[in-house]
Symmetry: C2
Subunit: 639 residues, 2 copies
């Protein structure tokens, strides 16, 4: 293979300080250093190899994941990694495993819903992995006879689960509550009496979630100790008496805000990864357009390629920053909760629900678009993109189906509007609704393309669009005598209004980010270009919203599109450096097309020969099936 950096000429074009951008992407110098160190640790350890996944059978794949999880845990202990480092390590191992649910759901559920006593009993066991837990909420079907179905880690590994089930005392149904249930013996791992448990079978993709034992669970007269009901919010006494503590029920929203905030952060990781692959490969790939015998055109120079790719690059950055802000929001909410201030919780809850929905949907679509941007080669497993898609898409479904979440956001928006009359001031991301009168009649005064570069102009257009769509929904809803009926009937429009609101949030957080001090030559300027690409791309894509609500004129829509083209040209020379700033190792990317040095073709060629089908020149089955066909002897062949 020829060595050297095949993308060096691209890297030279960059007009900003890539190292400084890496810090911005990571969030801080400290975060960068941890991330950089741990990702290299994982990449350089052959125990974490992952390129062989597509070739493994389900059983081999699963066993391999158990090995990696145990080995990772061993390394975490040996190297005395901090919690931050340990979680980065699990992240860079990049393989769904029972540990995700143990750390990501089981522990938070006990922390969020268990009493002090319960936490003291269970958390140390869980922290040391003396027990392994999962989170069992979803059911197979409906009706009383159903089973738990889907929980990750349940099928084969977890010793314990937080199970959600109806609490009935003295014949009275108190609704769904959480219980800590031991599933398997801690000695020999066999399921405890009355418990039927197993794996629910193969899922999307070659590897993807097939490394995870999503499980099915049935109980047959299983008894658990009373003190394994999670009792922070409500209790059952020794005598079977049910009572509620004075901790408000909304507390559970806090956990949801936490989990969904991590999902938004993950979205920016998954999208940036796909974008990194597609961008590098688009600079390597040449196709047509050769003039006078010169080299063909790099496909990244085609405007159509840019208009599909660069908005995704911009989205990756946008999601990164909104994720960062959500982390802050979670801290803020938590502090308020501790001070018994619940006032911002509904808004924070709606906001994270909406952002979870928007960013996961855009990321799932974006990964597949990146795959298509790589042409035929994107369809190979060695491109990394099929697996990335298959492992990512369930994020649109778990932790709240995306459509259902948007309906919750819409409900909150309508409520916010209806409370304006009574003088209740909207807070946080809905604060702009306070200016609804202005937003209903303001006029965009863009007159030339560059006017679209002004943050205030963009913000007002997005605020006006969102406000007007929500107000239109509210108006139409008021025509129904039964509000629930109206809500059901108009839910399509309501979802669109919710989307408009959430897009505004992302745009405005990107703009806020740019108002901060950002060091590094050219860094802020490049981020400015990306921010404008993100906003104007959305404006173009949804111009129907902006035009139908009269927020902008057709002429202004046209100018926005013109400006967008100019922005693509500005982004072009910086594209490779902008994806280098993610600082992903080739191991993490897991893609030949996206490899750092751009030396794609020899690597593809070499990788091909490793397929098991190439073990022999003449394939298994030739004698039985192909030879008789060619020789016209099928009639007598036994098939």
């Amino acid at each position: 293979m020829e060595g050297g950096d095949h993308l060096a000429h691209e890297r030279k074009k960059a007009q900003f300080d890539v190292e400084a951008m890496k810090i911005v992407w990571a969030g801080s110098r400290h975060a960068f250093e941890v991330s950089d160190r741990i990702s290299k640790l994982v990449a350089s350890d052959p125990a974490f190899r992952k390129d062989n996944r597509p070739m493994l059978s389900r059983k081999e794949l699963f066993k391999n994941t158990l090995r990696k999880a145990a080995y990772a845990w061993k390394r975490i202990i040996e190297l005395r990694l901090s919690e931050e480092e340990a979680s980065k390590l699990r992240f860079y191992v990049d393989e769904p495993a029972f540990t995700d649910l143990h750390w990501g759901m089981f522990l938070p559920a006990i922390k969020g819903q268990g009493t002090e006593e319960q936490q003291q009993k269970w958390l140390p066991l869980a922290y040391k992995m003396q027990i392994i837990g999962c989170y069992a909420q979803t059911e197979l079907g409906h009706g009383s006879n159903s089973s738990k179905w889907w929980p990750g880690g349940l099928g084969k590994i977890s010793t314990h689960a937080v199970v959600y089930a109806r609490l009935i005392t003295d014949g009275q149904d108190h609704g769904v509550h959480g219980f800590i249930v031991q599933l398997r013996s801690l000695d020999d791992h066999s399921p405890l009496p009355g418990i039927t448990v197993g794996d629910i079978g193969m899922k999307f993709g070659n590897g993807a979630y097939n490394t995870m034992d999503n499980g099915v669970l049935r109980f047959d007269h299983v008894r658990i100790p009373r003190d394994q009901m999670l009792m922070k919010v409500s209790q059952v006494s020794r005598e079977g008496k049910y009572s509620q503590s004075n901790v408000p029920r909304q507390l559970v929203y806090g956990t949801m805000v936490f989990v969904r905030q991590t999902i938004v952060a993950d979205a920016s990781c998954a999208l940036s990864r796909a974008v990194c692959i597609a961008t590098r490969y688009s600079a390597v790939r040449r196709q047509f357009g050769s003039q006078n015998g010169g080299p063909e055109t790099q496909v990244i120079d085609y405007k159509t390629q840019q208009s599909r790719l660069f908005p995704l690059l911009a989205s990756a950055y946008a999601f990164r920053f909104v994720g960062e802000w959500l982390k802050w929001l979670y801290t803020d909410v938590t502090q308020r909760l501790q001070a018994n201030d619940f006032s911002t919780l509904p808004e924070a809850h709606a906001c994270t629900a909406g952002l979870k929905s928007l960013t996961t949907a855009a990321t799932a679509d974006g990964i597949e678009e990146c795959r298509k941007l790589c042409g035929g080669h994107g369809y190979l497993c060695s491109s990394g993109l099929p697996e990335l898609f298959a492992v990512y898409v369930p994020a649109c479904t778990y932790e709240g189906d995306n459509t259902v979440l948007l309906l919750q956001v819409a409900r909150f928006l309508v409520k916010t509007l209806s409370q304006l009359g009574s003088g209740k001031q909207p807070v946080g991301t809905t604060a702009y609704m306070g200016q609804v009168e202005h937003l209903m009649q303001c006029h965009c005064n863009v007159q030339k393309a560059e006017d679209w570069l002004k943050p205030a102009v963009i913000l007002e257009a997005f605020e006006a669009r969102s406000a007007r769509m929500s107000v239109a929904c509210a108006k139409n809803l008021s025509k129904f005598t039964n509000p629930e009926e109206g809500f059901a009937e108009l839910s399509g429009d309501l979802v669109e209004a919710a989307i408009a609101h959430c897009q505004l949030i992302i745009v405005s957080k990107f703009i806020e980010k740019l108002q901060q001090d950002i060091p590094g030559k050219g860094v802020k300027q490049q981020l400015g270009v990306l921010c404008n690409i993100y906003a104007l791309f959305l404006l173009h894509k949804h111009q129907g919203d902006f035009l139908s609500t009269g927020c902008i004129t057709p002429k202004q829509a046209y100018l926005a599109n013109e400006q967008l083209r100019a922005l693509y040209s500005q982004a072009r020379p910086n594209a490779i450096a902008l994806v280098d700033a993610f600082n992903y190792t080739d191991h993490y990317l897991g893609s030949i097309l996206g490899c750092y040095d751009g030396n794609v073709y020899p690597k593809l060629y070499e990788a091909a020969w490793k397929d098991p089908l190439n073990d022999s020149v003449v394939p298994d089955g030739y004698r039985e099936y192909i030879w008789p066909m060619l020789k016209q002897q099928l009639r007598t062949a036994r098939l």
Copy 2:
């Protein structure tokens, strides 16, 4: 398992004659009967079982496909199936195989580009499968040192290939030509001297195209007889002299029209299959909305579910009819070619290119949307949807990358417009451009929602939108001194104009279909509902186009959306019957969620236990990896 038809109550709601609709869907009574008979033949033969695919390793999977292909061929001979029946059989076997390329590309290439003599020599061998051929055009990279890469059937099976390569005689390069090249010995299947050939490795999905040996090929001083150059269009004489025959080069467009027309037909099959699964499951699934302890709401009754699902249902029908029309177009073009009339070829070529692009893109997205519409369960392989997606998506890339195709359409539109001045009348699907003056200034006169049900109103709006977008592009292009530079710079807008044009074609062909005589109680009426859903859904989705070009007003856009909602309510009771009309067997659907009887949950539960991970209660790897973790003995464990 409980028996009976769990969807019987849904089937009773239908307001039309399902049996008559089946005939319409199939295209004719004859087509229905063949399709029905052959699909049942395949479904009832255990040799064609396919539910075990996700569990097979690459080698097992591939060998299994060889077996099925040989067995299918055996049955075709035994049952003396006609060509029509044989191709239906291969279709219902539903597994990519080398035979697809043999029948779908190798044979047509020889028919289209071979001389009479060449056809007489090669076709009988191919028809009897005494040789097996593939189609080798695409290369790995660029540069002279590249290999062929991607051709299906090449990697392990084909004995011959039509190879596209540069023809150089006496040092002069005559460009790319097709050659029939023998690859492997007909005795022992070993590659001939100088030929390196193998499989390119794993692709997207568990099964999908991994049943196919997409291959890599290199030549090292390989000589072939002169008469294996395909010589219909140009020849090389015994003396090495190059010449062109008087057959025009555009003839190859004829083959492209043929192949792409089959791709459009396949799109309607793939999309209808996904829609059938999602529709049936949406009627089975219940979620929330329970009132007074009654059953929960069927998710198909949620308007958001309808607004995502029903446009796809309508699209499946729309693509079916436009595919039918394309078949007619191909026959028409072929007859004209035989009469030396090349006048309609460019238009037919642009039209099939555009429709290939549009229908495959919408189908790929539609399948994934159907998967999401099934919630978590759609992520299971047993839903059939992950595999359907993985096997379908390359259709967006092969036979012309979708974006590249749209650029070709745009080029044709701009050319058509520019020729208007010189009095050249546009033909076929561009005929409306002849009324460009009217279309530039006409006003939509919709005043109430029902006005949107008039075909003439819809047609004019779509024609005006398309014409205005093309004209705007042409106008902007004229500002550039270098037209190619302009085309490159504006290619984003040009693609959007091409999409508008192609959507118009689909809408207009659906409307034309409804002008035919369609027997069967209520059948035409239901198709009318679907046609209107398709058109108004597009209008809503692209309202930015319609508004920015002033084709409709915001008020009219609002009314269209209102009408759309009403149409969803009309479609709702007929939804299950409309997917029953596809007449798909449970075998072909390959989906537990989509099974005809709707008895989903017991089947899911049973299927889960068949996963290899459930072979043992305690999983492989527990002793080595989990036990030491739980017992805090990792330090000493060997991992």
